[in-house]
């Protein structure tokens, strides 16, 4: 059962810390992606804790309730008082269970972040409701960081490129296959090619099948990133390039176009959407 916080009756204390520690008031955001759901805990604008669970499609709200409560208690020693929550999901079957699970676990009403909401970013998209909310969040946070034209590259299940103009207008982007799912597809479809660890080989031209595939995946995706950025800049003009996503560190060395790596960009965007929509400055 939730432990009542002595100094804030409307919040729920969920951290694993001892009672003597002061509680830290946090906003919890959930980025429900195709592979993982990432939870971010923000104190003001500062991300103080993160936890990650599999985006298993069959999870129920009861399972998520228990998991969300316990994962916080077991992954941090801080005492966290949850004062707000937001969910951004690109997996429709997990959206409602996650919202209900968070409501039950944290005792607050989560805000469902959607690309059609007005949070001060003009969106040029045929139908903003069909824009993945992860891309919307990345664009919000990317522009906030760049303070000017920006291309955001998110390397995850998919490889996503999104463009924001100098005046803060979201212009659209591109979606390519992710390097890991493409590598897995190759290993399962080509009779003589097995899976390889995603480690960069010393040379581009491989002299074994393993190093040839490693170069193809790691240097190949870096080349894809550089090529797409070059094409986008030709339309957009000069723009900063921010990379995010679990696989971004693997291509950073070879993709010369990447200016900045911000692993928590999507979480940051969900926080910005929450704060702007509830009027927090």
């Amino acid at each position: 059962m939730p432990r009542a916080a002595p100094n804030a009756s409307t919040t729920t204390s969920v951290g694993g810390g001892v009672d003597e520690q002061p509680e830290r008031q946090v906003l919890v955001v959930a980025d429900v992606g195709n592979t993982h759901t990432v939870l971010g805990f923000f104190e003001g604008a500062v991300l103080i804790h993160q936890a990650r669970i599999e985006s298993a499609r069959g999870r129920t709200e009861d399972e998520l309730h228990m998991l969300l409560r316990r994962i916080v208690a077991l992954t941090t020693r801080e005492r966290l008082a949850v004062v707000g929550a937001a969910v951004g999901s690109v997996v429709p079957v997990l959206t409602e269970p996650t919202i209900k699970g968070m409501r039950a676990a944290f005792g607050v009403e989560p805000l469902r972040v959607e690309s059609s909401m007005d949070v001060g970013m003009k969106v040029v998209y045929d139908d903003p409701r069909t824009l993945g909310v992860d891309r919307f969040a990345n664009a919000l946070a990317g522009y906030e960081r760049a303070k000017g034209a920006v291309v955001i590259v998110d390397l995850g299940t998919a490889t996503k490129f999104d463009c924001v103009a100098a005046d803060g207008t979201f212009l659209g982007g591109a979606i390519a296959p992710g390097m890991r799912i493409a590598a897995e597809a190759l290993a399962s479809r080509a009779a003589k090619l097995a899976g390889v660890p995603l480690v960069r080989p010393k040379k581009v031209v491989g002299r074994t099948t393993e190093t040839s595939m490693q170069a193809g995946i790691l240097i190949g995706w870096a080349a894809m990133v550089d090529g797409m950025v070059e094409r986008m800049r030709a339309e957009l003009g000069p723009a900063m390039v921010i990379a995010t996503g679990g696989l971004a560190p693997l291509v950073q060395r070879d993709a010369a176009s990447i200016d900045l790596l911000v692993p928590e960009l999507t979480l940051e965007g969900l926080r910005i959407a929450y704060q702007r929509s509830v009027g927090v400055r």
Partner: protein, 255 residues
């Protein structure tokens, strides 16, 4: 006539040569469970449709990267033409030094491509073969096979994306009109096709930086279009390169 057979992971391509001229070519699915009898029916029927009698085929040569289809194809050829095909393998004389740590590991199709490309370029050359995998193979000006790069093919990558991302539906693999898509369909078309164009051009640039000699760049393979045409760093698209390599290999080994 010489029948050349290239068994790849997705398709099996067959070419009939009269002398050095490719007079017929046809392709069948590389369905992994196909039997020798089925293969025989397909071979003979495809010949009949083009007015070719099996007796006109005096020899055949085969390269396969799908082990489970190699024996059925050999058996079908023996039955149809009265003699087994020459099978490209580690013992085949290529005249090309293979500077690979494990020469036996190099797919037969890659060596065959390298051979045909070097014959044509008469100098340093990179072959990009677009199929289930996209392979880049490098040949030195002295005609040595140097190794290469293997990338997941454009189609299997796109299929994986359609399957794994819950909100994304299937789009045709065609050149988009713009790079910054303003709908999810446009964005995917841009990412899949222009993303791959960037990958190929960028890979070629990086390979050329590492090799110290100038080289021609050829593209081949069933999935070359529409990417290869859009790549700035590809000099020529040669759809029959693998069949051509098989013919050359046969000529060098027939005695």
């Amino acid at each position: 006539m010489l029948l050349t057979i290239d068994i790849s992971n997705t398709h099996t391509v067959l070419g009939l040569y009269r002398g050095t001229e490719l007079v017929h070519d046809f392709r069948i699915e590389s369905s992994k469970g196909r039997t020798a009898d089925e293969m025989l029916v397909l071979l003979v029927s495809m010949f009949e449709l083009r007015g070719v009698a099996p007796a006109d085929v005096t020899a055949s040569v085969l390269a396969s990267v799908v082990p489970q289809l190699t024996d059925p194809m050999i058996a079908a050829c023996e039955h149809a033409f009265g003699r087994a095909p020459m099978v490209v393998g580690p013992g085949t004389k290529t005249g090309m030094p293979i500077l690979y740590e494990t020469p036996r590991e190099v797919g037969a199709d890659r060596i065959v491509n390298a051979l045909a490309a070097f014959e044509r370029a008469k100098g340093g050359v990179i072959v990009v073969d677009f199929a289930t995998a996209t392979t880049f193979d490098c040949i030195s000006p002295k005609g040595e096979y140097l190794g290469g790069v293997i990338v997941p093919g454009i189609r299997i990558g796109a299929e994986a994306l359609f399957t794994r991302a819950a909100l994304l539906s299937r789009v045709p693999i065609a050149l988009p009109t713009k790079v910054i898509g303003t709908s999810t369909e446009q964005a995917m078309q841009s990412g899949i096709v222009l993303g791959y164009v960037g990958l190929v051009d960028g890979m070629v640039r990086r390979i050329k930086e590492e090799l110290v000699f100038p080289c021609r760049v050829y593209a081949t393979g069933s999935l070359a279009s529409p990417v290869a045409e859009a790549c700035a760093r590809i000099d020529e698209v040669l759809p029959d390169l693998t069949l051509e390599g098989l013919r050359l290999l046969y000529e060098r080994n027939k005695s």
